[in-house]
Symmetry: C2
Subunit: 278 residues, 2 copies
Protein backbone atom coordinates (compact mmCIF):
# COMPACT_ATOMS: atom_id res chain seq x y z
CA UNK A 1 0.00 0.00 0.00
CA UNK A 2 3.05 2.19 -0.09
CA UNK A 3 2.42 5.51 -1.76
CA UNK A 4 -1.26 5.56 -0.89
CA UNK A 5 -2.46 8.16 1.55
CA UNK A 6 -3.34 5.60 4.17
CA UNK A 7 -1.35 2.48 4.66
CA UNK A 8 -3.03 0.65 7.50
CA UNK A 9 -6.35 0.65 9.22
CA UNK A 10 -6.31 3.64 11.48
CA UNK A 11 -8.77 5.46 13.61
CA UNK A 12 -9.49 8.54 11.56
CA UNK A 13 -7.41 10.62 13.93
CA UNK A 14 -5.86 12.78 11.28
CA UNK A 15 -7.03 16.17 12.44
CA UNK A 16 -5.48 16.54 15.86
CA UNK A 17 -1.90 17.12 14.86
CA UNK A 18 0.60 19.28 16.64
CA UNK A 19 -1.03 19.24 20.05
CA UNK A 20 1.95 19.27 22.35
CA UNK A 21 -0.06 19.90 25.48
CA UNK A 22 -0.49 16.29 26.55
CA UNK A 23 1.04 15.45 29.90
CA UNK A 24 3.58 12.70 30.11
CA UNK A 25 1.47 10.30 32.08
CA UNK A 26 -1.27 10.62 29.53
CA UNK A 27 1.44 10.24 26.96
CA UNK A 28 2.63 7.01 28.42
CA UNK A 29 -0.72 5.30 28.78
CA UNK A 30 -1.93 6.47 25.36
CA UNK A 31 1.21 5.41 23.58
CA UNK A 32 1.04 1.91 24.95
CA UNK A 33 -2.62 1.30 24.22
CA UNK A 34 -3.41 -0.43 20.98
CA UNK A 35 -6.58 -2.39 20.40
CA UNK A 36 -5.12 -5.40 18.61
CA UNK A 37 -3.57 -8.55 20.08
CA UNK A 38 0.15 -9.25 19.68
CA UNK A 39 -0.78 -12.22 17.50
CA UNK A 40 -2.28 -9.88 14.88
CA UNK A 41 -0.19 -10.17 11.69
CA UNK A 42 0.13 -6.38 11.52
CA UNK A 43 0.66 -5.89 15.25
CA UNK A 44 4.18 -4.49 14.94
CA UNK A 45 3.22 -2.10 12.14
CA UNK A 46 0.13 -0.93 13.95
CA UNK A 47 2.03 -0.39 17.19
CA UNK A 48 4.76 1.50 15.36
CA UNK A 49 2.25 3.68 13.57
CA UNK A 50 0.38 4.30 16.80
CA UNK A 51 3.51 5.31 18.70
CA UNK A 52 4.84 7.62 16.00
CA UNK A 53 1.52 9.40 15.63
CA UNK A 54 1.33 9.78 19.36
CA UNK A 55 4.85 11.23 19.20
CA UNK A 56 3.51 13.99 16.96
CA UNK A 57 0.71 14.74 19.39
CA UNK A 58 3.22 14.85 22.27
CA UNK A 59 5.43 17.31 20.36
CA UNK A 60 8.41 14.95 20.09
CA UNK A 61 8.14 13.70 16.50
CA UNK A 62 8.59 16.28 13.76
CA UNK A 63 7.09 16.42 10.28
CA UNK A 64 10.50 15.34 9.00
CA UNK A 65 10.30 12.48 11.47
CA UNK A 66 7.01 11.26 10.00
CA UNK A 67 8.43 11.34 6.48
CA UNK A 68 11.53 9.47 7.69
CA UNK A 69 9.23 6.91 9.31
CA UNK A 70 7.62 6.31 5.93
CA UNK A 71 10.99 5.83 4.24
CA UNK A 72 11.87 3.33 6.92
CA UNK A 73 8.58 1.47 6.42
CA UNK A 74 9.32 1.02 2.72
CA UNK A 75 12.77 -0.42 3.36
CA UNK A 76 11.45 -2.61 6.18
CA UNK A 77 8.79 -3.94 3.82
CA UNK A 78 11.52 -4.83 1.30
CA UNK A 79 13.54 -6.51 4.06
CA UNK A 80 10.53 -8.69 4.88
CA UNK A 81 9.80 -6.86 8.15
CA UNK A 82 12.07 -9.18 10.06
CA UNK A 83 15.51 -9.17 11.65
CA UNK A 84 17.67 -10.83 9.02
CA UNK A 85 20.59 -13.01 10.25
CA UNK A 86 23.24 -10.38 9.43
CA UNK A 87 21.29 -7.82 11.47
CA UNK A 88 21.10 -10.19 14.41
CA UNK A 89 24.87 -10.65 14.19
CA UNK A 90 25.30 -6.86 14.17
CA UNK A 91 23.02 -6.57 17.20
CA UNK A 92 25.11 -9.16 19.05
CA UNK A 93 28.32 -7.28 18.15
CA UNK A 94 26.68 -4.04 19.30
CA UNK A 95 25.80 -5.63 22.64
CA UNK A 96 29.37 -6.87 23.10
CA UNK A 97 30.75 -3.45 22.12
CA UNK A 98 28.48 -1.63 24.56
CA UNK A 99 29.49 -4.03 27.35
CA UNK A 100 33.18 -3.44 26.55
CA UNK A 101 32.80 0.35 26.58
CA UNK A 102 34.07 2.59 29.37
CA UNK A 103 31.60 5.32 28.59
CA UNK A 104 28.74 4.22 26.30
CA UNK A 105 26.01 6.67 25.30
CA UNK A 106 22.70 5.99 23.56
CA UNK A 107 21.71 8.98 21.41
CA UNK A 108 17.96 9.66 21.25
CA UNK A 109 16.05 11.71 18.69
CA UNK A 110 12.32 12.35 18.29
CA UNK A 111 11.43 9.22 16.36
CA UNK A 112 13.47 6.92 18.59
CA UNK A 113 11.94 8.44 21.73
CA UNK A 114 8.46 7.94 20.30
CA UNK A 115 9.09 4.41 19.06
CA UNK A 116 11.16 2.69 21.75
CA UNK A 117 11.25 4.70 24.99
CA UNK A 118 10.91 1.74 27.39
CA UNK A 119 13.27 -0.34 25.30
CA UNK A 120 16.00 2.35 25.37
CA UNK A 121 15.70 2.82 29.12
CA UNK A 122 16.05 -0.94 29.53
CA UNK A 123 19.09 -1.19 27.24
CA UNK A 124 20.75 1.73 29.04
CA UNK A 125 20.29 -0.09 32.35
CA UNK A 126 21.58 -3.44 31.07
CA UNK A 127 24.79 -2.04 29.51
CA UNK A 128 25.17 0.84 31.98
CA UNK A 129 24.96 3.52 29.30
CA UNK A 130 23.83 7.14 29.45
CA UNK A 131 20.86 8.40 27.42
CA UNK A 132 21.42 11.67 25.57
CA UNK A 133 18.80 13.58 23.61
CA UNK A 134 20.30 14.81 20.37
CA UNK A 135 18.25 16.46 17.65
CA UNK A 136 19.06 17.50 14.14
CA UNK A 137 16.50 20.28 14.40
CA UNK A 138 17.17 21.31 17.97
CA UNK A 139 14.65 23.45 19.79
CA UNK A 140 14.37 23.82 23.54
CA UNK A 141 10.75 22.74 23.45
CA UNK A 142 11.43 19.47 21.67
CA UNK A 143 14.53 18.76 23.79
CA UNK A 144 12.45 19.17 26.96
CA UNK A 145 9.49 17.21 25.61
CA UNK A 146 11.72 14.27 24.69
CA UNK A 147 13.61 14.34 28.00
CA UNK A 148 10.27 14.43 29.84
CA UNK A 149 8.99 11.54 27.74
CA UNK A 150 12.07 9.43 28.55
CA UNK A 151 11.72 10.23 32.26
CA UNK A 152 8.05 9.25 32.13
CA UNK A 153 9.26 5.91 30.77
CA UNK A 154 11.66 5.41 33.66
CA UNK A 155 14.88 7.19 32.65
CA UNK A 156 16.63 8.67 35.67
CA UNK A 157 19.38 10.71 34.09
CA UNK A 158 18.79 12.25 30.68
CA UNK A 159 21.67 14.12 29.07
CA UNK A 160 21.66 16.55 26.16
CA UNK A 161 20.18 19.62 27.78
CA UNK A 162 23.53 21.04 28.99
CA UNK A 163 24.91 21.24 25.43
CA UNK A 164 28.29 22.36 26.79
CA UNK A 165 30.42 20.76 24.07
CA UNK A 166 30.44 20.61 20.27
CA UNK A 167 31.02 17.89 17.68
CA UNK A 168 33.76 19.36 15.46
CA UNK A 169 32.88 19.92 11.80
CA UNK A 170 29.17 20.55 12.25
CA UNK A 171 27.45 23.90 12.31
CA UNK A 172 26.85 25.29 15.78
CA UNK A 173 23.29 24.13 16.56
CA UNK A 174 23.69 20.71 15.02
CA UNK A 175 26.95 19.98 16.81
CA UNK A 176 25.65 20.57 20.34
CA UNK A 177 26.30 17.70 22.78
CA UNK A 178 26.99 17.26 26.49
CA UNK A 179 30.64 17.35 27.60
CA UNK A 180 30.11 14.39 29.92
CA UNK A 181 27.87 12.62 27.40
CA UNK A 182 28.39 12.04 23.67
CA UNK A 183 31.48 14.28 23.63
CA UNK A 184 33.38 12.00 26.02
CA UNK A 185 31.80 8.71 24.95
CA UNK A 186 33.97 5.94 23.57
CA UNK A 187 31.00 4.02 22.12
CA UNK A 188 27.80 5.69 20.84
CA UNK A 189 24.61 4.07 19.63
CA UNK A 190 22.99 6.43 17.13
CA UNK A 191 19.68 5.04 15.89
CA UNK A 192 18.21 6.79 12.84
CA UNK A 193 21.01 9.32 12.63
CA UNK A 194 21.56 11.99 9.99
CA UNK A 195 24.48 11.21 7.66
CA UNK A 196 26.46 14.37 8.37
CA UNK A 197 26.37 13.81 12.10
CA UNK A 198 27.17 10.13 11.80
CA UNK A 199 30.22 11.05 9.71
CA UNK A 200 31.31 13.79 12.14
CA UNK A 201 31.02 11.41 15.12
CA UNK A 202 33.10 8.87 13.20
CA UNK A 203 35.76 11.55 12.69
CA UNK A 204 35.99 11.85 16.49
CA UNK A 205 37.28 8.25 16.57
CA UNK A 206 34.32 6.96 18.48
CA UNK A 207 33.07 3.46 17.97
CA UNK A 208 29.76 4.17 16.29
CA UNK A 209 26.78 1.80 16.20
CA UNK A 210 24.11 2.96 13.72
CA UNK A 211 20.59 1.58 13.26
CA UNK A 212 19.15 2.43 9.83
CA UNK A 213 16.83 0.52 7.49
CA UNK A 214 18.54 1.67 4.29
CA UNK A 215 21.90 -0.06 3.86
CA UNK A 216 22.87 2.53 1.23
CA UNK A 217 22.47 5.57 3.45
CA UNK A 218 25.57 7.30 4.64
CA UNK A 219 25.02 6.70 8.35
CA UNK A 220 25.34 2.90 8.30
CA UNK A 221 28.14 3.19 5.76
CA UNK A 222 30.29 5.27 8.12
CA UNK A 223 29.40 3.18 11.20
CA UNK A 224 31.72 0.75 12.94
CA UNK A 225 28.70 -1.49 13.47
CA UNK A 226 25.81 -0.85 11.05
CA UNK A 227 22.52 -2.47 12.04
CA UNK A 228 20.05 -2.66 9.15
CA UNK A 229 16.87 -3.37 11.08
CA UNK A 230 13.79 -1.64 12.44
CA UNK A 231 14.61 0.10 15.77
CA UNK A 232 11.51 -1.48 17.23
CA UNK A 233 13.12 -4.89 16.76
CA UNK A 234 16.79 -3.87 16.99
CA UNK A 235 16.87 -2.26 20.42
CA UNK A 236 15.23 -5.17 22.31
CA UNK A 237 17.43 -7.63 20.42
CA UNK A 238 20.61 -5.77 21.45
CA UNK A 239 19.31 -5.87 25.03
CA UNK A 240 18.61 -9.61 24.85
CA UNK A 241 22.16 -10.25 23.58
CA UNK A 242 23.59 -7.97 26.28
CA UNK A 243 21.76 -9.90 29.00
CA UNK A 244 23.06 -13.17 27.62
CA UNK A 245 26.62 -11.78 27.42
CA UNK A 246 26.52 -10.04 30.81
CA UNK A 247 28.91 -12.55 32.39
CA UNK A 248 31.14 -13.11 29.36
CA UNK A 249 34.83 -12.26 29.72
CA UNK A 250 36.57 -9.52 27.78
CA UNK A 251 38.18 -11.95 25.33
CA UNK A 252 34.81 -13.41 24.39
CA UNK A 253 33.29 -9.96 23.90
CA UNK A 254 36.25 -8.78 21.84
CA UNK A 255 36.08 -11.87 19.67
CA UNK A 256 32.38 -11.23 18.95
CA UNK A 257 33.19 -7.66 17.93
CA UNK A 258 36.18 -8.69 15.80
CA UNK A 259 34.26 -11.39 13.98
CA UNK A 260 31.58 -8.96 12.88
CA UNK A 261 32.16 -7.71 9.32
CA UNK A 262 30.39 -4.40 8.56
CA UNK A 263 30.75 -4.58 4.77
CA UNK A 264 29.41 -8.12 4.72
CA UNK A 265 26.40 -7.09 6.82
CA UNK A 266 25.61 -4.16 4.52
CA UNK A 267 25.95 -6.39 1.46
CA UNK A 268 23.63 -9.00 3.01
CA UNK A 269 20.97 -6.37 3.67
CA UNK A 270 21.22 -5.01 0.13
CA UNK A 271 20.98 -8.55 -1.23
CA UNK A 272 17.83 -9.17 0.79
CA UNK A 273 16.24 -5.95 -0.43
CA UNK A 274 17.05 -6.78 -4.05
CA UNK A 275 16.01 -10.42 -3.99
CA UNK A 276 13.48 -10.81 -1.18
CA UNK A 277 9.73 -11.24 -1.60
CA UNK A 278 8.13 -8.31 -3.26
Amino acid sequence: MTGSEDGLEDKGETENEGDGANGNEASRSEADRIDVPESHPRYESLLTRHRIEHGVEAGITSKQGLIAQGRGEAFDYLLGEETIPSADAAERAAAAQLLLADHPVLSVNGNVAALVPDELVELAAVVDAALEVNLFNRTDERMEAIADHLRAHGAEDVKGLAADARIPGLEHERGKVDADGIYEADVVLVPLEDGDRAAALGEMDKVEIVIDLNPASRSPRVATIPIVDNVIRAVPTITAHARELADADTDTLERIVDEFDADEALAAAEERIRNGEF
Copy 2:
Protein backbone atom coordinates in the same frame (compact mmCIF):
# COMPACT_ATOMS: atom_id res chain seq x y z
CA MET B 1 19.78 9.13 4.41
CA THR B 2 16.58 7.18 4.51
CA GLY B 3 15.57 6.23 8.01
CA SER B 4 17.33 9.20 9.56
CA GLU B 5 15.23 11.88 11.17
CA ASP B 6 16.11 14.47 8.58
CA GLY B 7 16.60 13.58 4.98
CA LEU B 8 17.43 16.84 3.26
CA GLU B 9 18.60 20.27 4.22
CA ASP B 10 15.61 21.96 5.68
CA LYS B 11 14.86 25.19 7.41
CA GLY B 12 14.36 24.08 10.97
CA GLU B 13 10.65 24.58 10.64
CA THR B 14 9.64 21.53 12.62
CA GLU B 15 7.68 23.19 15.37
CA ASN B 16 4.84 24.86 13.59
CA GLU B 17 2.84 21.78 12.69
CA GLY B 18 -0.90 21.52 12.50
CA ASP B 19 -1.61 25.19 11.90
CA GLY B 20 -4.54 25.06 9.56
CA ALA B 21 -5.29 28.76 9.82
CA ASN B 22 -3.33 29.89 6.77
CA GLY B 23 -5.47 31.47 4.09
CA ASN B 24 -5.36 30.08 0.60
CA GLU B 25 -3.61 32.98 -1.02
CA ALA B 26 -0.85 32.73 1.56
CA SER B 27 -0.94 29.03 0.89
CA ARG B 28 -0.36 29.50 -2.78
CA SER B 29 2.53 31.90 -2.57
CA GLU B 30 4.23 30.01 0.26
CA ALA B 31 3.89 26.65 -1.40
CA ASP B 32 5.52 27.83 -4.60
CA ARG B 33 8.46 29.56 -3.00
CA ILE B 34 11.65 27.59 -2.70
CA ASP B 35 15.07 29.16 -2.47
CA VAL B 36 16.97 26.86 -4.81
CA PRO B 37 17.29 27.05 -8.59
CA GLU B 38 15.68 24.38 -10.80
CA SER B 39 19.19 23.30 -11.79
CA HIS B 40 19.93 22.20 -8.21
CA PRO B 41 20.45 18.41 -8.20
CA ARG B 42 17.95 18.03 -5.35
CA TYR B 43 15.49 20.60 -6.69
CA GLU B 44 12.66 18.13 -7.21
CA SER B 45 13.11 16.54 -3.78
CA LEU B 46 13.32 19.90 -2.06
CA LEU B 47 10.25 21.21 -3.85
CA THR B 48 8.32 18.05 -2.99
CA ARG B 49 9.33 18.23 0.65
CA HIS B 50 8.47 21.91 0.78
CA ARG B 51 5.02 21.41 -0.74
CA ILE B 52 4.12 18.45 1.45
CA GLU B 53 5.14 20.25 4.63
CA HIS B 54 3.19 23.26 3.55
CA GLY B 55 0.25 20.90 3.01
CA VAL B 56 0.40 20.00 6.69
CA GLU B 57 0.40 23.65 7.69
CA ALA B 58 -2.57 24.31 5.42
CA GLY B 59 -4.52 21.41 6.97
CA ILE B 60 -4.68 19.34 3.78
CA THR B 61 -1.97 16.73 4.36
CA SER B 62 -2.51 14.31 7.24
CA LYS B 63 0.02 12.56 9.47
CA GLN B 64 -0.70 9.43 7.44
CA GLY B 65 0.01 11.51 4.36
CA LEU B 66 3.48 12.44 5.61
CA ILE B 67 4.32 8.81 6.35
CA ALA B 68 3.04 7.82 2.90
CA GLN B 69 5.23 10.54 1.41
CA GLY B 70 8.24 8.94 3.07
CA ARG B 71 7.35 5.50 1.71
CA GLY B 72 7.09 7.04 -1.73
CA GLU B 73 10.48 8.74 -1.35
CA ALA B 74 12.14 5.41 -0.60
CA PHE B 75 10.67 3.73 -3.68
CA ASP B 76 11.45 6.76 -5.84
CA TYR B 77 15.03 6.62 -4.64
CA LEU B 78 15.21 2.95 -5.66
CA LEU B 79 13.69 3.82 -9.06
CA GLY B 80 16.47 6.36 -9.60
CA GLU B 81 14.14 9.35 -9.11
CA GLU B 82 13.30 9.41 -12.79
CA THR B 83 10.46 8.46 -15.10
CA ILE B 84 11.50 5.08 -16.42
CA PRO B 85 10.51 4.20 -20.03
CA SER B 86 7.67 1.87 -18.95
CA ALA B 87 6.23 4.67 -16.81
CA ASP B 88 6.38 7.07 -19.73
CA ALA B 89 4.51 4.51 -21.85
CA ALA B 90 1.90 4.20 -19.09
CA GLU B 91 1.57 7.99 -18.95
CA ARG B 92 1.03 8.11 -22.71
CA ALA B 93 -1.63 5.37 -22.47
CA ALA B 94 -3.25 7.28 -19.60
CA ALA B 95 -3.38 10.43 -21.72
CA ALA B 96 -4.97 8.53 -24.61
CA GLN B 97 -7.46 6.87 -22.25
CA LEU B 98 -8.46 10.19 -20.69
CA LEU B 99 -8.94 11.73 -24.15
CA LEU B 100 -11.13 8.77 -25.19
CA ALA B 101 -13.28 9.00 -22.06
CA ASP B 102 -16.84 10.35 -22.04
CA HIS B 103 -16.70 11.29 -18.40
CA PRO B 104 -13.17 11.33 -16.97
CA VAL B 105 -12.58 12.28 -13.34
CA LEU B 106 -9.31 13.03 -11.55
CA SER B 107 -9.53 11.97 -7.90
CA VAL B 108 -7.64 14.22 -5.46
CA ASN B 109 -6.50 13.42 -1.92
CA GLY B 110 -4.48 15.49 0.55
CA ASN B 111 -1.02 14.57 -0.69
CA VAL B 112 -1.91 15.02 -4.33
CA ALA B 113 -3.50 18.41 -3.65
CA ALA B 114 -0.38 19.50 -1.77
CA LEU B 115 2.07 18.17 -4.33
CA VAL B 116 0.56 18.94 -7.74
CA PRO B 117 -2.35 21.39 -7.50
CA ASP B 118 -1.46 23.48 -10.58
CA GLU B 119 -0.53 20.37 -12.53
CA LEU B 120 -3.89 18.69 -11.81
CA VAL B 121 -5.87 21.77 -12.78
CA GLU B 122 -3.92 21.91 -16.03
CA LEU B 123 -4.43 18.21 -16.80
CA ALA B 124 -8.17 18.53 -16.07
CA ALA B 125 -8.38 21.41 -18.56
CA VAL B 126 -6.42 19.61 -21.28
CA VAL B 127 -8.44 16.36 -21.15
CA ASP B 128 -11.72 18.02 -20.09
CA ALA B 129 -11.94 16.05 -16.83
CA ALA B 130 -13.61 16.86 -13.53
CA LEU B 131 -11.62 17.15 -10.28
CA GLU B 132 -13.12 15.34 -7.29
CA VAL B 133 -11.77 15.48 -3.76
CA ASN B 134 -11.85 11.99 -2.28
CA LEU B 135 -10.30 11.19 1.09
CA PHE B 136 -9.73 7.93 2.89
CA ASN B 137 -10.07 9.74 6.21
CA ARG B 138 -12.88 12.06 5.25
CA THR B 139 -13.62 15.06 7.45
CA ASP B 140 -15.54 18.14 6.38
CA GLU B 141 -12.64 20.39 7.37
CA ARG B 142 -10.11 18.60 5.18
CA MET B 143 -12.57 18.28 2.28
CA GLU B 144 -13.17 22.04 2.37
CA ALA B 145 -9.49 22.89 2.83
CA ILE B 146 -8.52 20.79 -0.18
CA ALA B 147 -11.34 22.14 -2.35
CA ASP B 148 -10.29 25.69 -1.38
CA HIS B 149 -6.66 24.89 -2.17
CA LEU B 150 -7.58 23.60 -5.64
CA ARG B 151 -9.72 26.68 -6.30
CA ALA B 152 -6.82 28.91 -5.21
CA HIS B 153 -4.78 27.11 -7.86
CA GLY B 154 -7.35 27.84 -10.58
CA ALA B 155 -9.88 24.99 -10.37
CA GLU B 156 -13.36 26.21 -11.28
CA ASP B 157 -15.50 23.23 -10.40
CA VAL B 158 -14.43 20.94 -7.58
CA LYS B 159 -16.55 17.87 -6.91
CA GLY B 160 -16.63 15.61 -3.86
CA LEU B 161 -18.48 17.77 -1.39
CA ALA B 162 -21.98 16.59 -2.42
CA ALA B 163 -21.16 12.96 -1.54
CA ASP B 164 -24.56 11.86 -2.85
CA ALA B 165 -23.48 8.41 -4.07
CA ARG B 166 -21.52 5.45 -2.71
CA ILE B 167 -18.87 3.10 -4.08
CA PRO B 168 -20.35 -0.37 -3.42
CA GLY B 169 -18.35 -2.65 -1.11
CA LEU B 170 -16.76 0.05 1.05
CA GLU B 171 -17.87 1.15 4.46
CA HIS B 172 -20.13 4.21 4.45
CA GLU B 173 -17.65 7.09 5.00
CA ARG B 174 -14.97 5.65 2.76
CA GLY B 175 -17.31 4.99 -0.11
CA LYS B 176 -18.66 8.54 -0.42
CA VAL B 177 -18.45 10.04 -3.92
CA ASP B 178 -20.42 12.48 -6.05
CA ALA B 179 -23.20 11.03 -8.21
CA ASP B 180 -22.18 13.20 -11.17
CA GLY B 181 -18.45 12.65 -10.45
CA ILE B 182 -16.56 9.45 -9.68
CA TYR B 183 -19.81 7.45 -9.45
CA GLU B 184 -20.67 8.13 -13.09
CA ALA B 185 -17.14 8.32 -14.44
CA ASP B 186 -16.02 5.90 -17.14
CA VAL B 187 -12.31 6.68 -16.58
CA VAL B 188 -10.82 7.71 -13.22
CA LEU B 189 -7.29 8.79 -12.43
CA VAL B 190 -6.55 7.86 -8.82
CA PRO B 191 -3.09 9.01 -7.77
CA LEU B 192 -1.81 7.57 -4.48
CA GLU B 193 -4.97 5.59 -3.82
CA ASP B 194 -5.66 3.17 -0.99
CA GLY B 195 -5.78 -0.48 -2.11
CA ASP B 196 -9.31 -1.20 -0.91
CA ARG B 197 -10.73 1.75 -2.75
CA ALA B 198 -8.75 1.05 -5.89
CA ALA B 199 -10.13 -2.50 -5.87
CA ALA B 200 -13.71 -1.32 -5.23
CA LEU B 201 -13.51 1.17 -8.11
CA GLY B 202 -12.19 -1.60 -10.34
CA GLU B 203 -15.23 -3.71 -9.38
CA MET B 204 -17.44 -0.92 -10.75
CA ASP B 205 -15.97 -1.64 -14.19
CA LYS B 206 -14.35 1.74 -14.48
CA VAL B 207 -11.13 2.16 -16.40
CA GLU B 208 -8.78 2.96 -13.57
CA ILE B 209 -5.46 4.78 -13.91
CA VAL B 210 -3.37 4.54 -10.72
CA ILE B 211 -0.16 6.43 -9.88
CA ASP B 212 1.87 4.66 -7.16
CA LEU B 213 5.62 4.33 -6.58
CA ASN B 214 5.45 0.77 -5.26
CA PRO B 215 4.74 -1.67 -8.09
CA ALA B 216 3.82 -4.35 -5.54
CA SER B 217 1.05 -2.42 -3.84
CA ARG B 218 -2.47 -3.48 -4.52
CA SER B 219 -3.60 -0.23 -6.15
CA PRO B 220 -1.37 -0.44 -9.23
CA ARG B 221 -1.98 -4.20 -9.39
CA VAL B 222 -5.75 -3.73 -9.78
CA ALA B 223 -5.41 -0.76 -12.15
CA THR B 224 -6.13 -0.87 -15.87
CA ILE B 225 -3.18 1.48 -16.34
CA PRO B 226 -0.65 1.42 -13.46
CA ILE B 227 1.84 4.30 -13.49
CA VAL B 228 4.87 3.61 -11.29
CA ASP B 229 6.26 7.12 -11.03
CA ASN B 230 6.34 10.12 -8.71
CA VAL B 231 3.10 12.16 -9.07
CA ILE B 232 5.24 15.27 -9.37
CA ARG B 233 6.66 13.89 -12.63
CA ALA B 234 3.70 11.74 -13.72
CA VAL B 235 0.93 14.35 -13.86
CA PRO B 236 2.83 16.88 -16.05
CA THR B 237 3.98 14.02 -18.30
CA ILE B 238 0.40 12.80 -18.82
CA THR B 239 -0.53 16.39 -19.67
CA ALA B 240 2.32 16.72 -22.16
CA HIS B 241 1.24 13.49 -23.90
CA ALA B 242 -2.39 14.66 -23.90
CA ARG B 243 -1.43 17.95 -25.57
CA GLU B 244 0.53 16.08 -28.20
CA LEU B 245 -2.37 13.66 -28.79
CA ALA B 246 -5.09 16.32 -28.74
CA ASP B 247 -5.73 16.04 -32.47
CA ALA B 248 -5.20 12.30 -32.79
CA ASP B 249 -8.13 10.26 -34.10
CA THR B 250 -9.95 7.64 -32.07
CA ASP B 251 -8.17 4.73 -33.78
CA THR B 252 -4.76 6.15 -32.89
CA LEU B 253 -5.78 6.71 -29.27
CA GLU B 254 -7.27 3.23 -28.99
CA ARG B 255 -4.13 1.67 -30.45
CA ILE B 256 -1.97 3.46 -27.85
CA VAL B 257 -4.20 2.14 -25.07
CA ASP B 258 -4.29 -1.40 -26.52
CA GLU B 259 -0.55 -1.58 -26.94
CA PHE B 260 0.10 -0.76 -23.30
CA ASP B 261 0.72 -3.88 -21.21
CA ALA B 262 0.07 -3.37 -17.49
CA ASP B 263 1.84 -6.53 -16.32
CA GLU B 264 4.88 -5.70 -18.39
CA ALA B 265 5.02 -2.17 -16.94
CA LEU B 266 4.77 -3.48 -13.36
CA ALA B 267 7.49 -6.04 -14.06
CA ALA B 268 9.76 -3.36 -15.56
CA ALA B 269 9.37 -1.19 -12.46
CA GLU B 270 10.10 -4.09 -10.13
CA GLU B 271 13.14 -4.99 -12.23
CA ARG B 272 14.43 -1.42 -11.97
CA ILE B 273 13.97 -1.39 -8.19
CA ARG B 274 15.77 -4.70 -7.82
CA ASN B 275 18.65 -3.95 -10.14
CA GLY B 276 19.05 -0.19 -10.29
CA GLU B 277 21.74 1.90 -8.62
CA PHE B 278 21.69 1.57 -4.91
